[in-house]
């Protein structure tokens, strides 16, 4: 089980910037594709409008000629129809007499049709058809213009515009990305500076983030305000604990000294003596709880100096020597696996001594008779680890996350203690920027691993 904060393990989700880039890219591609699909239709419409106007004008001109000079001006052939085709311009003018008036359209009609010119080539043409009466005879005037080249034009246009648009899309995408990244810079700063995990609100960076964006300003301001409130709340709690603990020391001193004075009396009967001694023990327990609370609050308030160089193995040896008798008493063997030594610098030796004493003491307390305590020191990557592992009772998985909570005692535990030993351990480890990992298995044992980053400088 890992006591490391949960954010370390969480899978990384995409950033706003990535999402923006994906959205921008996709939407632009959709627009380009849609435009590219519509473009031929627009081109066709424009070209047709143009051609149609031309056809109408020409047909007007032909009709005018007919009106002025008679149909004979144009129709020279017997069947009274006329066809004229200009190959170069792909244009033609044709007049047909209408024999069956029912087939005739009443008004002008423009449509695309295949038209076979006199040289026998069939080609697509835009043709205007206009009925007119001349000399009580119905005629139909057809004026046409070849449109085969328009298809080609459409394709060329489409390709060309596609290239241009693609170019602009790419350019604008880069501009967008640049802008978004500038826009998001304050947010990234907020993320970096304000949302990084800090051991306590005291370590929070309250400097204002420079931004002209109102939302980010507000976010930054609110985070600062909330952290300030948290900081104050923490401060009040710490001061309260510190003051209460401090104020309780004096009355405890008085009672303690009074008990001692009472016990010096040689005439006391045995029963009273035992009661006084028990009271002394109870008082001592209270005093220890207060001392522990005071210790924690003093560390958290940075009232301890951290200015010593500590040789870790030497320190562990001192701790082991101190509790040697306890080991012998329970027939517990210490297995030293000191693969590497490490200097804690800067540190507070007395505090680290207390920390390791508490952990090793725990390893003795919760060990079985004749068990082992394996202490391993080694370097993994740029981390130095100290593992203290016992072969004892172990803990249930669900109990592990709360073992560092103050006054928390495991329900099934029979060993004495007031539940501040491990909170002290955690506080001292934090004070020295050490991570603590706890692994445990019921019936197998528990291990505490202290992890400290190796300073490369």
């Amino acid at each position: 089980m890992n006591i490391l904060p949960s954010f370390i393990k969480r899978r990384k989700s995409p950033t706003i910037q990535t999402k923006f880039a994906i959205y921008n890219g996709l939407s632009k591609i959709v627009i380009v594709l849609a435009f590219n699909a519509i473009l031929p239709i627009i081109v066709q419409k424009l070209v047709y409008d143009h051609i149609d106007k031309r056809l109408i004008a020409r047909s007007e001109r032909v009709l005018l000629t007919v009106k002025k000079g008679g149909i004979e001006e144009i129709t020279l052939e017997q069947d009274c129809s006329f066809e004229s085709y200009s190959i170069l311009k792909e244009e033609f003018v044709a007049i047909y007499p209408i024999l069956d008036p029912r087939k005739m359209s009443r008004d002008m009609d423009i449509s695309d049709e295949e038209w076979r010119s006199s040289n026998g080539e069939a080609m697509k043409h835009r043709i205007i058809k206009r009925p007119f009466t001349y000399d009580n005879q119905l005629y139909e005037l057809n004026v046409g213009e070849g449109i085969g080249s328009i298809e080609q034009l459409k394709n060329t246009f489409q390709q060309f515009s596609f290239m241009i648009m693609l170019f602009f899309v790419i350019v604008s995408l880069f501009i967008d990305l640049g802008f978004v990244s500038i826009l998001m810079r304050p947010l990234n700063k907020i993320m970096e500076r304000k949302l990084k995990p800090v051991p306590s609100p005291n370590n929070f960076d309250f400097t204002k983030i420079n931004t002209t964006t109102r939302e980010f300003n507000k976010l930054d301001q609110r985070i600062n305000e909330m952290m300030l409130m948290l900081k104050d709340a923490f401060q009040i709690e710490k001061e309260f604990i510190s003051n209460v603990s401090h104020e309780l020391q004096t009355p405890i001193s008085i009672i303690q000294n009074r008990l001692e004075n009472l016990m010096i009396d040689q005439e006391l009967n045995e029963e009273v003596m035992i009661k006084l001694s028990d009271s002394q023990r109870t008082l001592n327990r209270m005093s220890k709880i207060i001392k522990a609370l005071l210790l924690i609050s003093k560390i958290e308030n940075d009232q301890y100096l951290k200015n010593e160089k500590i040789d870790l193995i030497q320190l562990l040896d001192e701790v082991l020597e101190e509790i040697e008798e306890r080991l012998i008493e329970k027939d517990i063997k210490i297995i030293r696996q000191f693969y590497e030594n490490f200097e804690i610098n800067p540190g507070n030796k007395a505090l680290l001594y207390t920390m390791f004493t508490n952990v090793i003491n725990n390893a003795i307390k919760y060990n079985k008779e004749g068990g082992n305590i394996i202490i391993t020191t080694k370097t993994i990557g740029n981390e130095f680890t100290i593992e203290i592992k016992d072969t004892g009772l172990g803990m249930k998985k669900e109990d592990i996350p709360t073992i560092f909570d103050r006054f928390k005692r495991l329900n099934n535990s029979t060993a004495e203690g007031f539940g501040l030993g491990l909170p002290i351990v955690k506080t001292i480890a934090n004070f020295h920027q050490m991570k603590v990992r706890v692994d445990s298995e019921v019936g197998v044992g528990t291990s505490f691993t202290f992890i400290t980053e190796i300073n490369t400088d």
Partner: protein, 224 residues
């Protein structure tokens, strides 16, 4: 031996006075810094037991003043103050020892003895308990010329019990003396009994230890 107790908490100074008087010290008591300073400068004391949190001034000021006037007394600072620097500052200013409140009177007495030994050099640094000679400077124990190999803690226990001979020292007092600086989670451990058992075994191998009494349910006593 003359002792000045500078402590504004009257109940506490009273208990200290009772205890020290029983140990044949002559005690004066000052309840504030001003009268404390006056008394330190006008009388000759062997010890000044100084509380730092005085109502009218910082105890360290009194210490500074006294040292400036070349006061010969040994100063022991008694305080519940939580500032870490106090201890260092106090010792830097010339205090001889520092005890955090709450403290045990037996412990206070032991510290005073240690200062006496250090400062003035007692005539003999050897404590005699029956056939056992306890050399405090060299931290050795001999019985009829034979050296007895004791661990550091066993020696400390024997010395502490000898210092308070004919009085019961409770398990709590002994535990505090041996492990006072270590703040661990135990308050009902029997480690003291283990140490005493080992100590007694080592001593009894060399001579009679009839004087080493167990007081049922309370603690131990060196009865001479």
């Amino acid at each position: 031996m003359n002792v000045l107790i500078v402590e504004d908490e009257r109940s506490l100074s009273h208990e200290m006075e009772i205890y020290l008087t029983k140990q044949n010290f002559n005690c004066d008591v000052a309840f504030n810094g001003k009268s404390g300073t006056d008394m330190v400068l006008s009388n000759e004391y062997d010890f000044v037991l100084l509380d730092l949190g005085l109502p009218d001034m910082d105890g360290l000021e009194l210490l500074r003043e006294a040292k400036k006037k070349k006061c010969e007394a040994a100063f022991i600072i008694l305080t519940a103050r939580s500032e870490v620097e106090d201890k260092i500052k106090g010792l830097d200013l010339g205090a001889d020892d520092y005890i955090g409140k709450p403290f045990s009177l037996a412990e206070l007495q032991a510290r005073m003895q240690a200062i006496l030994r250090r400062k003035h050099g007692l005539k003999s640094n050897v404590m005699q308990i029956a056939d056992f000679e306890i050399d405090i400077s060299n931290r050795t124990v001999h019985c009829n010329g034979n050296l007895i190999n004791l661990t550091k803690k066993e020696f400390d226990l024997l010395h502490y019990l000898g210092l308070h001979k004919n009085r019961v020292l409770t398990r709590t007092q002994l535990t505090e003396h041996i492990w006072g600086d270590v703040l661990d989670d135990d308050y009902e451990s029997n480690y003291i009994d283990v140490h005493i058992k080992n100590l007694r075994k080592k001593l009894s191998a060399q001579g009679s230890v009839d004087w080493f009494e167990t007081v049922r349910g309370v603690g131990y006593r060196v009865n001479l």
